[in-house]
Protein backbone atom coordinates (compact mmCIF):
# COMPACT_ATOMS: atom_id res chain seq x y z
CA UNK A 1 0.00 0.00 0.00
CA UNK A 2 2.67 2.46 1.01
CA UNK A 3 4.98 1.36 -1.74
CA UNK A 4 2.27 1.79 -4.29
CA UNK A 5 1.79 5.36 -3.17
CA UNK A 6 5.50 6.05 -3.47
CA UNK A 7 5.53 4.66 -6.99
CA UNK A 8 2.64 6.93 -7.93
CA UNK A 9 4.47 9.96 -6.54
CA UNK A 10 7.63 9.02 -8.43
CA UNK A 11 5.60 8.61 -11.60
CA UNK A 12 3.97 12.00 -11.14
CA UNK A 13 7.36 13.62 -10.57
CA UNK A 14 8.75 12.11 -13.78
CA UNK A 15 5.68 12.92 -15.86
CA UNK A 16 5.68 16.53 -14.67
CA UNK A 17 9.34 16.82 -15.54
CA UNK A 18 8.83 15.34 -18.99
CA UNK A 19 5.95 17.73 -19.52
CA UNK A 20 8.09 20.71 -18.60
CA UNK A 21 10.92 19.38 -20.73
CA UNK A 22 8.72 18.98 -23.80
CA UNK A 23 7.03 22.34 -23.34
CA UNK A 24 10.32 24.17 -23.00
CA UNK A 25 12.45 22.33 -25.51
CA UNK A 26 9.89 22.36 -28.28
CA UNK A 27 9.14 26.01 -27.64
CA UNK A 28 5.44 25.32 -27.12
CA UNK A 29 5.44 27.16 -23.84
CA UNK A 30 5.52 30.93 -23.99
CA UNK A 31 8.61 32.78 -22.83
CA UNK A 32 6.58 33.98 -19.91
CA UNK A 33 5.84 30.44 -18.75
CA UNK A 34 9.37 29.19 -19.39
CA UNK A 35 10.72 32.03 -17.37
CA UNK A 36 8.29 31.34 -14.53
CA UNK A 37 9.29 27.71 -14.04
CA UNK A 38 12.24 28.44 -11.77
CA UNK A 39 10.45 31.13 -9.69
CA UNK A 40 7.55 28.72 -9.17
CA UNK A 41 9.93 26.00 -8.02
CA UNK A 42 11.77 28.45 -5.75
CA UNK A 43 8.47 29.42 -4.19
CA UNK A 44 7.47 25.79 -3.75
CA UNK A 45 10.70 25.17 -1.85
CA UNK A 46 10.15 28.25 0.28
CA UNK A 47 6.53 27.45 1.03
CA UNK A 48 7.17 23.81 1.86
CA UNK A 49 10.11 24.65 4.09
CA UNK A 50 8.15 27.36 5.89
CA UNK A 51 5.31 24.92 6.34
CA UNK A 52 7.66 22.84 8.46
CA UNK A 53 7.81 25.65 11.02
CA UNK A 54 4.36 27.15 10.67
CA UNK A 55 2.29 24.12 9.82
CA UNK A 56 4.04 21.24 11.52
CA UNK A 57 5.83 22.88 14.43
CA UNK A 58 3.03 25.39 14.88
CA UNK A 59 5.21 28.46 15.38
CA UNK A 60 4.49 31.68 13.51
CA UNK A 61 7.51 33.25 11.85
CA UNK A 62 7.68 36.33 9.66
CA UNK A 63 11.37 36.09 8.82
CA UNK A 64 11.59 33.36 6.22
CA UNK A 65 12.92 35.81 3.64
CA UNK A 66 15.81 36.40 6.02
CA UNK A 67 16.90 32.74 5.75
CA UNK A 68 16.47 32.94 2.02
CA UNK A 69 18.65 36.03 1.76
CA UNK A 70 21.43 34.65 3.93
CA UNK A 71 21.54 31.51 1.85
CA UNK A 72 21.37 33.44 -1.39
CA UNK A 73 24.22 35.72 -0.40
CA UNK A 74 26.45 32.95 0.94
CA UNK A 75 25.95 30.68 -2.05
CA UNK A 76 26.16 33.38 -4.68
CA UNK A 77 29.15 35.04 -3.07
CA UNK A 78 30.89 31.71 -3.45
CA UNK A 79 30.09 31.39 -7.14
CA UNK A 80 31.05 34.99 -7.79
CA UNK A 81 34.47 34.51 -6.22
CA UNK A 82 35.24 30.96 -7.33
CA UNK A 83 35.48 30.18 -10.95
CA UNK A 84 34.99 26.46 -11.07
CA UNK A 85 33.01 24.60 -13.71
CA UNK A 86 29.30 24.88 -13.04
CA UNK A 87 28.96 21.15 -12.39
CA UNK A 88 31.24 21.39 -9.35
CA UNK A 89 30.49 24.96 -8.37
CA UNK A 90 26.73 24.76 -8.25
CA UNK A 91 26.30 21.87 -5.80
CA UNK A 92 28.87 23.42 -3.48
CA UNK A 93 27.06 26.75 -3.68
CA UNK A 94 23.76 25.13 -2.75
CA UNK A 95 25.33 23.36 0.21
CA UNK A 96 27.09 26.53 1.38
CA UNK A 97 23.90 28.56 1.05
CA UNK A 98 21.86 25.93 2.84
CA UNK A 99 24.33 25.50 5.67
CA UNK A 100 24.77 29.23 6.24
CA UNK A 101 21.04 29.67 6.41
CA UNK A 102 20.85 26.68 8.75
CA UNK A 103 23.25 28.41 11.13
CA UNK A 104 20.93 31.41 11.15
CA UNK A 105 18.00 29.07 11.62
CA UNK A 106 19.72 27.82 14.73
CA UNK A 107 20.25 31.36 16.03
CA UNK A 108 16.65 32.36 15.33
CA UNK A 109 15.46 29.10 16.82
CA UNK A 110 16.77 30.18 20.23
CA UNK A 111 14.08 32.78 20.92
CA UNK A 112 11.53 30.28 19.65
CA UNK A 113 12.30 28.21 22.72
CA UNK A 114 11.09 30.99 24.97
CA UNK A 115 8.55 32.91 22.94
CA UNK A 116 5.22 32.00 21.44
CA UNK A 117 2.70 33.31 18.96
CA UNK A 118 2.69 36.98 18.15
CA UNK A 119 5.82 37.62 20.17
CA UNK A 120 7.79 35.10 18.19
CA UNK A 121 6.32 36.56 15.01
CA UNK A 122 7.62 40.02 15.80
CA UNK A 123 11.02 38.69 16.86
CA UNK A 124 11.46 36.76 13.62
CA UNK A 125 10.32 39.84 11.72
CA UNK A 126 13.00 41.75 13.60
CA UNK A 127 15.63 39.16 12.72
CA UNK A 128 14.74 39.48 9.06
CA UNK A 129 15.07 43.25 9.26
CA UNK A 130 18.40 43.01 11.09
CA UNK A 131 19.79 40.72 8.41
CA UNK A 132 18.57 43.08 5.72
CA UNK A 133 19.99 46.17 7.31
CA UNK A 134 23.37 44.49 7.84
CA UNK A 135 23.44 43.30 4.22
CA UNK A 136 22.58 46.83 3.18
CA UNK A 137 25.62 48.25 4.89
CA UNK A 138 28.09 45.51 3.96
CA UNK A 139 30.08 46.73 1.01
CA UNK A 140 31.72 43.36 0.33
CA UNK A 141 28.35 41.98 -0.72
CA UNK A 142 27.51 45.02 -2.78
CA UNK A 143 25.49 46.93 -0.17
CA UNK A 144 22.13 48.25 -1.25
CA UNK A 145 23.01 47.85 -4.92
CA UNK A 146 23.09 44.14 -4.41
CA UNK A 147 25.42 41.38 -5.40
CA UNK A 148 25.92 41.56 -9.13
CA UNK A 149 27.54 39.43 -11.75
CA UNK A 150 26.33 36.07 -10.47
CA UNK A 151 26.73 33.41 -13.14
CA UNK A 152 23.35 32.39 -14.35
CA UNK A 153 24.33 28.76 -14.30
CA UNK A 154 21.19 27.13 -12.97
CA UNK A 155 18.31 26.01 -15.12
CA UNK A 156 14.92 24.42 -14.71
CA UNK A 157 16.36 20.92 -14.43
CA UNK A 158 18.57 21.88 -11.50
CA UNK A 159 15.66 23.69 -9.90
CA UNK A 160 13.38 20.72 -10.43
CA UNK A 161 15.83 18.28 -8.90
CA UNK A 162 16.30 20.53 -5.87
CA UNK A 163 12.57 20.89 -5.42
CA UNK A 164 12.06 17.15 -5.56
CA UNK A 165 14.86 16.64 -3.02
CA UNK A 166 13.25 19.21 -0.73
CA UNK A 167 9.87 17.56 -1.05
CA UNK A 168 11.26 14.08 -0.41
CA UNK A 169 13.32 15.11 2.61
CA UNK A 170 10.61 17.16 4.25
CA UNK A 171 7.75 14.78 3.62
CA UNK A 172 9.82 11.77 4.68
CA UNK A 173 10.77 13.53 7.88
CA UNK A 174 7.18 14.46 8.53
CA UNK A 175 6.13 10.83 8.09
CA UNK A 176 8.78 9.50 10.44
CA UNK A 177 9.12 9.42 14.22
CA UNK A 178 10.90 12.76 14.05
CA UNK A 179 7.97 14.35 12.26
CA UNK A 180 5.59 12.90 14.82
CA UNK A 181 7.63 14.51 17.57
CA UNK A 182 7.44 17.87 15.80
CA UNK A 183 3.69 17.57 15.38
CA UNK A 184 3.31 16.48 18.99
CA UNK A 185 5.03 19.69 20.09
CA UNK A 186 2.62 21.68 17.96
CA UNK A 187 -0.42 19.99 19.44
CA UNK A 188 0.62 20.06 23.08
CA UNK A 189 4.05 20.98 24.39
CA UNK A 190 3.40 19.86 27.94
CA UNK A 191 2.08 16.47 26.90
CA UNK A 192 4.95 16.06 24.46
CA UNK A 193 7.45 16.66 27.25
CA UNK A 194 5.60 14.24 29.49
CA UNK A 195 6.14 11.41 27.03
CA UNK A 196 9.79 12.27 26.57
CA UNK A 197 9.78 14.31 23.35
CA UNK A 198 12.88 16.45 23.37
CA UNK A 199 11.16 19.75 22.74
CA UNK A 200 14.32 21.88 22.56
CA UNK A 201 15.98 19.54 20.10
CA UNK A 202 13.01 19.23 17.77
CA UNK A 203 12.16 22.93 17.78
CA UNK A 204 15.75 23.69 16.84
CA UNK A 205 15.75 20.91 14.32
CA UNK A 206 12.65 22.25 12.57
CA UNK A 207 14.09 25.75 12.41
CA UNK A 208 17.45 24.54 11.13
CA UNK A 209 15.98 22.25 8.49
CA UNK A 210 13.49 24.85 7.32
CA UNK A 211 16.20 27.49 7.13
CA UNK A 212 18.45 25.11 5.22
CA UNK A 213 15.96 24.65 2.41
CA UNK A 214 15.05 28.32 2.39
CA UNK A 215 18.77 29.01 1.97
CA UNK A 216 19.03 26.56 -0.92
CA UNK A 217 16.00 28.20 -2.51
CA UNK A 218 17.74 31.54 -2.06
CA UNK A 219 20.84 30.34 -3.91
CA UNK A 220 18.62 29.05 -6.68
CA UNK A 221 16.86 32.40 -6.83
CA UNK A 222 20.16 34.26 -7.11
CA UNK A 223 21.65 31.87 -9.65
CA UNK A 224 18.58 32.20 -11.78
CA UNK A 225 18.41 35.97 -11.72
CA UNK A 226 22.07 36.96 -11.73
CA UNK A 227 21.60 39.72 -9.16
CA UNK A 228 20.36 39.79 -5.58
CA UNK A 229 19.74 42.86 -3.50
CA UNK A 230 18.76 43.19 0.15
CA UNK A 231 15.52 45.05 -0.55
CA UNK A 232 14.08 41.95 -2.24
CA UNK A 233 14.16 39.97 0.97
CA UNK A 234 12.01 42.28 3.00
CA UNK A 235 9.11 41.70 5.28
CA UNK A 236 6.70 41.58 2.33
CA UNK A 237 8.58 38.62 0.86
CA UNK A 238 8.19 36.73 4.13
CA UNK A 239 4.50 37.53 4.12
CA UNK A 240 4.19 36.33 0.53
CA UNK A 241 5.60 32.93 1.51
CA UNK A 242 3.45 32.78 4.62
CA UNK A 243 0.35 33.47 2.56
CA UNK A 244 1.21 30.48 0.36
CA UNK A 245 1.46 28.25 3.41
CA UNK A 246 -1.76 29.47 4.93
CA UNK A 247 -3.74 29.26 1.71
CA UNK A 248 -2.38 25.81 0.95
CA UNK A 249 -3.31 24.65 4.40
CA UNK A 250 -1.15 24.47 7.47
CA UNK A 251 0.69 21.20 7.67
CA UNK A 252 -0.36 20.28 4.15
CA UNK A 253 2.59 19.86 1.81
CA UNK A 254 0.52 19.26 -1.29
CA UNK A 255 -1.47 22.37 -0.46
CA UNK A 256 1.70 24.42 -0.19
CA UNK A 257 2.81 23.24 -3.61
CA UNK A 258 -0.49 24.14 -5.24
CA UNK A 259 -0.71 27.49 -3.45
CA UNK A 260 2.86 28.34 -4.47
CA UNK A 261 2.05 27.59 -8.10
CA UNK A 262 -1.17 29.59 -8.09
CA UNK A 263 0.19 32.56 -6.21
CA UNK A 264 3.25 32.81 -8.44
CA UNK A 265 1.27 32.55 -11.66
CA UNK A 266 -1.71 34.65 -10.58
CA UNK A 267 -0.01 38.07 -10.59
CA UNK A 268 1.53 37.27 -13.97
CA UNK A 269 -1.83 36.34 -15.43
CA UNK A 270 -3.31 39.49 -14.00
CA UNK A 271 -0.77 41.64 -15.86
CA UNK A 272 -3.51 42.87 -18.17
CA UNK A 273 -5.23 44.45 -15.25
CA UNK A 274 -2.14 46.61 -14.79
CA UNK A 275 -2.91 49.15 -12.10
CA UNK A 276 -5.62 47.05 -10.52
CA UNK A 277 -3.39 44.04 -10.00
CA UNK A 278 -2.44 44.70 -6.39
CA UNK A 279 -6.02 45.57 -5.61
CA UNK A 280 -7.16 42.22 -6.94
CA UNK A 281 -4.43 40.41 -5.08
CA UNK A 282 -5.49 42.07 -1.82
CA UNK A 283 -9.15 41.27 -2.43
CA UNK A 284 -8.32 37.69 -3.36
CA UNK A 285 -6.35 37.36 -0.15
CA UNK A 286 -9.20 38.62 2.02
CA UNK A 287 -11.84 36.59 0.23
CA UNK A 288 -9.81 33.40 0.28
CA UNK A 289 -9.26 33.75 4.01
CA UNK A 290 -12.95 34.39 4.57
CA UNK A 291 -13.88 31.37 2.48
CA UNK A 292 -11.40 29.08 4.13
CA UNK A 293 -11.91 30.16 7.73
CA UNK A 294 -15.36 31.63 8.26
CA UNK A 295 -17.49 28.94 9.95
CA UNK A 296 -20.68 29.71 8.02
CA UNK A 297 -18.92 29.77 4.67
CA UNK A 298 -16.90 26.67 5.47
CA UNK A 299 -20.07 24.83 6.37
CA UNK A 300 -21.76 26.04 3.20
CA UNK A 301 -18.83 24.86 1.13
CA UNK A 302 -18.74 21.50 2.84
CA UNK A 303 -22.46 21.02 2.32
CA UNK A 304 -22.03 21.84 -1.34
CA UNK A 305 -19.25 19.34 -1.80
CA UNK A 306 -20.80 16.56 0.25
CA UNK A 307 -23.88 16.66 -1.89
CA UNK A 308 -21.80 16.36 -5.02
CA UNK A 309 -19.87 13.48 -3.54
CA UNK A 310 -23.10 11.59 -3.07
CA UNK A 311 -23.70 12.23 0.61
CA UNK A 312 -20.57 10.70 1.96
Amino acid sequence: MKNKKNIIYAAIAIIVYLLIFTLVETGTASRQLQNLIVPVLVNIMLAVSLNLIVGFLGELTLGHAGFMSVGAYAGCLFTVNCHLPAVIELPIAFVIGGLTAAVFGFIIGIPALRLKGDYLAIVTLGFGEIIRSILNSLDIVGGSGGLKGIDKSSNYTVAYVLTIITLIVISNIIRSCHGRSIKAIRDNVIAAESVGVNVVYYKMFAFVLSAFFAGVAGVLYGQNLGIIKPATFDFNKSIEILVMVVLGGMGNIRGSIIAAIILTLLPELLRDLADYRMLFYALALILMMLFSSNPTLVEFRQRLFTRKKGGK
Binding site: P111, L290, P295
Partner: protein, 295 residues
Protein backbone atom coordinates in the same frame (compact mmCIF):
# COMPACT_ATOMS: atom_id res chain seq x y z
CA UNK B 1 24.06 70.24 24.13
CA UNK B 2 23.95 67.84 21.25
CA UNK B 3 23.01 65.04 23.55
CA UNK B 4 20.00 66.90 24.92
CA UNK B 5 18.86 67.85 21.44
CA UNK B 6 19.20 64.24 20.30
CA UNK B 7 17.25 63.12 23.35
CA UNK B 8 14.49 65.55 22.44
CA UNK B 9 14.54 64.33 18.84
CA UNK B 10 14.13 60.80 20.17
CA UNK B 11 11.33 61.89 22.43
CA UNK B 12 9.38 63.55 19.64
CA UNK B 13 9.86 60.55 17.34
CA UNK B 14 8.99 58.23 20.21
CA UNK B 15 5.78 60.04 21.04
CA UNK B 16 4.57 59.45 17.47
CA UNK B 17 5.39 55.76 17.80
CA UNK B 18 3.69 55.71 21.18
CA UNK B 19 0.54 57.27 19.79
CA UNK B 20 0.30 54.69 17.00
CA UNK B 21 1.25 51.90 19.38
CA UNK B 22 -1.66 52.85 21.64
CA UNK B 23 -4.02 51.97 18.80
CA UNK B 24 -2.29 48.65 18.19
CA UNK B 25 -2.28 47.72 21.82
CA UNK B 26 -5.87 48.72 22.36
CA UNK B 27 -7.11 46.44 19.59
CA UNK B 28 -4.74 43.63 20.48
CA UNK B 29 -5.56 43.83 24.16
CA UNK B 30 -9.29 43.44 23.63
CA UNK B 31 -9.82 41.67 20.32
CA UNK B 32 -6.58 39.63 20.55
CA UNK B 33 -5.67 40.32 16.96
CA UNK B 34 -2.85 42.15 15.26
CA UNK B 35 -4.50 44.81 13.19
CA UNK B 36 -1.82 45.10 10.56
CA UNK B 37 -3.90 47.64 8.69
CA UNK B 38 -3.65 50.15 11.54
CA UNK B 39 -0.77 52.00 9.89
CA UNK B 40 -2.75 52.19 6.68
CA UNK B 41 -5.78 53.65 8.43
CA UNK B 42 -3.40 56.40 9.50
CA UNK B 43 -2.38 56.87 5.89
CA UNK B 44 -6.02 57.15 4.83
CA UNK B 45 -6.61 59.64 7.63
CA UNK B 46 -3.75 61.78 6.37
CA UNK B 47 -5.20 61.84 2.85
CA UNK B 48 -8.61 62.78 4.18
CA UNK B 49 -7.02 65.53 6.22
CA UNK B 50 -5.22 66.89 3.18
CA UNK B 51 -8.39 66.97 1.10
CA UNK B 52 -10.53 68.49 3.84
CA UNK B 53 -7.92 71.15 4.48
CA UNK B 54 -7.93 72.20 0.84
CA UNK B 55 -11.68 72.27 0.46
CA UNK B 56 -12.35 74.26 3.61
CA UNK B 57 -11.90 77.98 3.11
CA UNK B 58 -13.53 78.73 6.43
CA UNK B 59 -12.67 80.96 9.35
CA UNK B 60 -9.19 80.32 10.82
CA UNK B 61 -10.53 78.35 13.78
CA UNK B 62 -12.94 76.34 11.65
CA UNK B 63 -10.28 75.62 9.06
CA UNK B 64 -8.50 73.66 11.75
CA UNK B 65 -11.51 72.08 13.41
CA UNK B 66 -13.31 71.04 10.23
CA UNK B 67 -10.54 68.87 8.68
CA UNK B 68 -9.73 67.37 12.07
CA UNK B 69 -13.33 66.36 12.69
CA UNK B 70 -13.73 64.97 9.17
CA UNK B 71 -10.51 63.00 9.55
CA UNK B 72 -11.59 61.54 12.89
CA UNK B 73 -15.02 60.62 11.60
CA UNK B 74 -13.77 58.93 8.45
CA UNK B 75 -11.06 56.95 10.25
CA UNK B 76 -13.53 55.74 12.84
CA UNK B 77 -16.05 54.71 10.21
CA UNK B 78 -13.31 53.02 8.19
CA UNK B 79 -12.04 51.09 11.20
CA UNK B 80 -15.49 49.85 12.17
CA UNK B 81 -16.26 48.91 8.57
CA UNK B 82 -13.06 46.94 8.20
CA UNK B 83 -13.83 45.10 11.41
CA UNK B 84 -17.35 44.30 10.28
CA UNK B 85 -16.49 43.10 6.79
CA UNK B 86 -13.12 41.45 7.18
CA UNK B 87 -12.49 40.58 10.81
CA UNK B 88 -15.88 39.74 12.31
CA UNK B 89 -16.51 36.70 10.09
CA UNK B 90 -13.23 35.32 11.38
CA UNK B 91 -13.95 35.85 15.06
CA UNK B 92 -13.28 32.23 15.95
CA UNK B 93 -10.85 31.38 13.19
CA UNK B 94 -7.16 30.72 13.77
CA UNK B 95 -5.10 33.79 14.67
CA UNK B 96 -3.05 33.21 11.55
CA UNK B 97 -6.09 33.47 9.27
CA UNK B 98 -6.95 36.77 10.92
CA UNK B 99 -3.39 38.00 10.55
CA UNK B 100 -3.35 37.21 6.84
CA UNK B 101 -6.70 38.93 6.41
CA UNK B 102 -5.35 41.99 8.19
CA UNK B 103 -2.38 42.00 5.83
CA UNK B 104 -4.82 41.71 2.94
CA UNK B 105 -6.73 44.73 4.23
CA UNK B 106 -3.45 46.61 4.52
CA UNK B 107 -2.54 45.84 0.90
CA UNK B 108 -6.06 46.77 -0.12
CA UNK B 109 -5.95 50.22 1.46
CA UNK B 110 -2.51 50.85 -0.03
CA UNK B 111 -3.55 49.92 -3.54
CA UNK B 112 -6.77 51.91 -3.34
CA UNK B 113 -4.77 54.95 -2.21
CA UNK B 114 -2.34 54.35 -5.05
CA UNK B 115 -5.17 54.21 -7.58
CA UNK B 116 -6.89 57.33 -6.29
CA UNK B 117 -3.99 59.57 -5.35
CA UNK B 118 -1.16 58.24 -7.48
CA UNK B 119 2.27 57.29 -6.32
CA UNK B 120 3.59 60.74 -5.55
CA UNK B 121 3.66 61.91 -2.00
CA UNK B 122 1.32 64.72 -1.23
CA UNK B 123 2.02 67.70 0.97
CA UNK B 124 -0.33 68.16 3.89
CA UNK B 125 -0.45 71.48 5.69
CA UNK B 126 -0.01 71.25 9.43
CA UNK B 127 -3.16 71.92 11.40
CA UNK B 128 -1.13 72.69 14.49
CA UNK B 129 -0.35 76.39 14.80
CA UNK B 130 3.32 76.95 14.12
CA UNK B 131 5.37 77.70 17.19
CA UNK B 132 8.61 76.49 18.64
CA UNK B 133 10.55 76.85 21.83
CA UNK B 134 14.24 77.64 21.72
CA UNK B 135 16.38 77.30 24.79
CA UNK B 136 19.93 78.20 23.96
CA UNK B 137 20.76 75.82 21.18
CA UNK B 138 17.95 73.44 21.89
CA UNK B 139 14.98 73.50 19.54
CA UNK B 140 11.64 72.15 20.52
CA UNK B 141 9.11 72.22 17.72
CA UNK B 142 5.47 72.89 18.39
CA UNK B 143 4.49 69.62 16.78
CA UNK B 144 6.74 67.66 19.12
CA UNK B 145 5.35 69.34 22.21
CA UNK B 146 1.77 68.86 21.02
CA UNK B 147 2.35 65.21 20.10
CA UNK B 148 3.90 64.37 23.43
CA UNK B 149 1.16 66.19 25.33
CA UNK B 150 -1.65 64.60 23.33
CA UNK B 151 -0.14 61.14 23.69
CA UNK B 152 0.12 61.44 27.45
CA UNK B 153 -3.44 62.73 27.74
CA UNK B 154 -4.77 59.96 25.53
CA UNK B 155 -2.89 57.33 27.48
CA UNK B 156 -4.37 58.56 30.74
CA UNK B 157 -7.88 58.81 29.30
CA UNK B 158 -7.64 55.31 27.85
CA UNK B 159 -6.38 53.84 31.10
CA UNK B 160 -9.20 55.52 33.04
CA UNK B 161 -11.76 54.47 30.46
CA UNK B 162 -10.69 50.83 30.46
CA UNK B 163 -10.41 50.54 34.20
CA UNK B 164 -13.26 52.63 35.54
CA UNK B 165 -16.18 52.69 33.12
CA UNK B 166 -18.80 50.05 32.57
CA UNK B 167 -17.92 49.76 28.89
CA UNK B 168 -14.28 49.47 29.83
CA UNK B 169 -15.13 46.63 32.16
CA UNK B 170 -17.02 44.90 29.37
CA UNK B 171 -13.96 45.28 27.20
CA UNK B 172 -11.73 43.71 29.79
CA UNK B 173 -14.21 40.89 30.19
CA UNK B 174 -14.18 40.24 26.44
CA UNK B 175 -10.41 40.31 26.51
CA UNK B 176 -10.26 37.65 29.25
CA UNK B 177 -12.83 35.27 27.86
CA UNK B 178 -15.24 36.00 25.01
CA UNK B 179 -17.51 33.09 25.81
CA UNK B 180 -17.83 33.88 29.49
CA UNK B 181 -18.35 37.57 28.74
CA UNK B 182 -21.21 36.66 26.41
CA UNK B 183 -22.81 34.56 29.14
CA UNK B 184 -22.53 37.51 31.51
CA UNK B 185 -24.61 39.56 29.10
CA UNK B 186 -21.82 41.46 27.40
CA UNK B 187 -22.47 42.03 23.72
CA UNK B 188 -19.16 40.78 22.38
CA UNK B 189 -19.65 42.00 18.82
CA UNK B 190 -20.55 45.54 19.73
CA UNK B 191 -17.79 45.68 22.32
CA UNK B 192 -15.21 44.68 19.73
CA UNK B 193 -16.71 47.13 17.24
CA UNK B 194 -16.34 49.84 19.85
CA UNK B 195 -12.75 48.78 20.40
CA UNK B 196 -12.07 49.20 16.72
CA UNK B 197 -13.85 52.52 16.71
CA UNK B 198 -11.59 53.73 19.51
CA UNK B 199 -8.51 52.22 17.88
CA UNK B 200 -9.29 53.95 14.59
CA UNK B 201 -10.09 57.18 16.35
CA UNK B 202 -6.60 56.97 17.82
CA UNK B 203 -5.30 56.30 14.31
CA UNK B 204 -6.98 59.53 13.19
CA UNK B 205 -5.28 61.50 15.92
CA UNK B 206 -2.00 59.80 15.04
CA UNK B 207 -2.42 60.71 11.40
CA UNK B 208 -3.13 64.35 12.26
CA UNK B 209 -0.04 64.59 14.42
CA UNK B 210 2.06 62.50 12.07
CA UNK B 211 1.44 64.67 9.03
CA UNK B 212 1.80 67.79 11.12
CA UNK B 213 5.26 66.64 12.14
CA UNK B 214 6.42 65.33 8.80
CA UNK B 215 4.22 67.13 6.30
CA UNK B 216 3.75 64.49 3.62
CA UNK B 217 1.65 61.45 2.87
CA UNK B 218 1.94 58.75 0.20
CA UNK B 219 0.18 55.40 -0.31
CA UNK B 220 2.86 53.59 1.66
CA UNK B 221 3.39 56.20 4.35
CA UNK B 222 1.59 54.14 6.96
CA UNK B 223 3.54 50.92 6.53
CA UNK B 224 6.86 51.74 8.16
CA UNK B 225 5.55 53.75 11.13
CA UNK B 226 2.99 50.96 11.54
CA UNK B 227 5.66 48.32 11.87
CA UNK B 228 7.79 50.45 14.17
CA UNK B 229 4.80 51.21 16.37
CA UNK B 230 3.91 47.54 16.42
CA UNK B 231 7.45 46.83 17.61
CA UNK B 232 7.00 49.54 20.25
CA UNK B 233 3.76 47.98 21.44
CA UNK B 234 5.38 44.55 21.75
CA UNK B 235 8.43 46.02 23.44
CA UNK B 236 6.28 47.68 26.08
CA UNK B 237 4.11 44.61 26.45
CA UNK B 238 1.32 44.35 23.94
CA UNK B 239 -2.09 44.81 25.49
CA UNK B 240 -0.72 47.15 28.15
CA UNK B 241 -1.63 50.81 27.68
CA UNK B 242 1.22 52.33 29.69
CA UNK B 243 3.41 49.71 28.00
CA UNK B 244 2.62 51.11 24.55
CA UNK B 245 3.54 54.59 25.75
CA UNK B 246 6.75 53.39 27.35
CA UNK B 247 7.65 51.16 24.40
CA UNK B 248 7.11 53.98 21.91
CA UNK B 249 9.23 56.48 23.82
CA UNK B 250 12.01 53.94 24.43
CA UNK B 251 12.01 52.93 20.79
CA UNK B 252 12.19 56.54 19.63
CA UNK B 253 15.06 57.35 21.97
CA UNK B 254 17.01 54.21 21.10
CA UNK B 255 16.57 54.89 17.41
CA UNK B 256 17.67 58.48 17.74
CA UNK B 257 20.58 57.71 20.04
CA UNK B 258 21.94 54.87 17.95
CA UNK B 259 21.73 57.03 14.86
CA UNK B 260 23.54 59.79 16.67
CA UNK B 261 26.25 57.86 18.45
CA UNK B 262 26.62 54.39 16.93
CA UNK B 263 25.71 54.15 13.29
CA UNK B 264 22.96 55.55 11.14
CA UNK B 265 23.20 52.53 8.88
CA UNK B 266 22.62 50.03 11.63
CA UNK B 267 20.02 51.98 13.62
CA UNK B 268 17.20 49.69 12.56
CA UNK B 269 19.26 46.63 13.34
CA UNK B 270 19.95 48.03 16.80
CA UNK B 271 16.29 48.80 17.42
CA UNK B 272 15.27 45.26 16.54
CA UNK B 273 18.14 43.76 18.54
CA UNK B 274 16.97 45.62 21.63
CA UNK B 275 13.48 44.25 21.05
CA UNK B 276 14.79 40.70 20.78
CA UNK B 277 16.95 41.02 23.89
CA UNK B 278 14.11 42.50 25.93
CA UNK B 279 11.76 39.72 24.84
CA UNK B 280 14.32 37.03 25.63
CA UNK B 281 14.72 38.42 29.13
CA UNK B 282 11.06 39.22 29.61
CA UNK B 283 8.98 37.29 27.09
CA UNK B 284 5.87 39.43 27.47
CA UNK B 285 7.55 42.80 27.07
CA UNK B 286 8.47 45.41 29.66
CA UNK B 287 5.05 45.96 31.20
CA UNK B 288 3.32 42.88 29.83
CA UNK B 289 1.40 40.61 32.13
CA UNK B 290 2.90 37.22 32.70
CA UNK B 291 0.68 34.42 31.54
CA UNK B 292 0.91 31.20 33.49
CA UNK B 293 0.13 27.98 31.71
CA UNK B 294 -1.71 25.74 34.06
CA UNK B 295 -0.81 22.10 33.83
Amino acid sequence: MDFIQQFINGLSLGSIYALIALGYTMVYGIAKMLNFAHGDVIMVGAYVLSMAAVKAGLSPAMSIVFPVVICMLSCTVLGVTIEKIAYRPLRNASPLAVLITAIGVSYFLQSVALLIFGSNQRKVESVIPKFSVTLGEIHLSGEAITTLGVTVIIMICLALFINFTKVGKAMRAVSEDKGAAQLMGVNVNSTISLTFAIGSFLAAIASILFVSSYGFVGPYSGAMPGIKAFVAAVLGGIGSIPGAMLGGIILGIIESMSKAYISTELADAIVFSVLIIVLLVKPTGILGRKRITKV
